[in-house]
């Protein structure tokens, strides 16, 4: 901050003016410099007077009083002992427990509920569709395998697998005999 001088240092002078308004005691040398500055700087002198008046006006504002009817309302609303924090916490815990219990009961009741015929029909249709797909896949696999057996591409181990091949029964009997 610039030192307060006679021709400059207005910012320092303003700071000193505010400090004085705040009730701060300026050091003797600082107070003397401020007075010298104010004697020669009309702007700071005017600002100092204005700011002191602003402060005086603010301090003179009459303050509103709390109406008696509102005071009576406060005293009526506080006539019972306040709820303790422990009581509030216990109540919050009880509410949380009750909510959890309600959710669990709801889930349990949902499971016990009689099945809906439409849901059963939908599940049966889905099952039939999946079984049909599986059956077709098995059929294709069997046909491909039989084709490879007949063409001689199968491994020796596969020959031991009982398969319903045309003429296999007779061939097997022939081998055994």
């Amino acid at each position: 901050m610039k030192e307060i001088g006679t021709t400059g240092g207005c910012a320092a002078a303003r700071a000193a003016i505010h400090a004085r308004l705040d009730g701060d005691l300026l050091p003797a040398a600082g107070a003397e410099r401020l007075e010298r500055h104010l004697a020669e700087c009309a702007a700071c002198r005017q600002a100092g007077m204005d700011l002191a008046r602003v402060q005086a006006q603010l301090r003179a504002v009459p303050l509103a009083t709390f109406p008696d009817a509102d005071l009576a309302a406060v005293l009526a609303r506080t006539s019972r002992a306040p709820r303790s924090l422990a009581h509030s916490a216990w109540r919050a815990s009880a509410v949380a427990a009750a909510l959890l219990l309600a959710v669990l009961l709801g889930s349990w009741i949902e499971r016990l509920r009689a099945p809906d015929p439409q849901e059963i029909a939908r599940a049966a249709a889905d099952t039939r569709y999946v079984l049909a797909l599986a059956g077709r896949a098995l059929d294709r696999t069997e046909r491909a395998t039989v084709k490879r057996v007949l063409s001689g591409e199968v491994s020796p181990a596969l020959r031991r697998v009982p398969m319903n091949l045309p003429g296999a029964e007779r061939a097997g009997k022939g081998d055994a005999s």
């Binding site: 700011l51 402060q55 603010l58 009459p62 303050l63 509103a64 509102d70 406060v74 506080t78 306040p82």
Partner: protein
Amino acid sequence: MDRQAFEEAVREHKDRVHAYAVMMLRDAEEARDVTQEALIRLWEHWSRIDADGRRMWLTRIAHNLCIDRIRRRRVRGETDLENVIPLHSDPAPGPGQIAWAGQVGQALASALSGLSDTDRAVVVMREMQGLAYEEIAATLGLPMGTLKARLHRARERLRERLVQAGVAP
């Protein structure tokens, strides 16, 4: 729970809390609501607040309640009430309050409304209610240097607004 001590505390602090809310909100009804709520909260937290700390606790609660209401007003798009409601808001103002409804009082009320919420709070607490700097700093959570800088800036702005309004301070 010492009921008598509570009632004494309410009677000791009610007007100061109410005056603060009036200055911050410029709305008599809202200020009464805030004061009631602050005093009821004092009752609810009575056992946890030291006797020495009651004034600061109540001021902080009142300040927070006022700021909440000011923010809600802004969310609703309501404008500040400057130039509408005088600084005092008693239904039956005394002679001094009527005098303040004059040109200077209106200009000062308007100038106060032009300050930021925190700057207005600092001015009200310090210049109008005479609270100590340490108490204001603790209530608003401001470092001392910041508090004084805000007060100085607010004084300068009030002066400028009063000069602009043609009301020599």
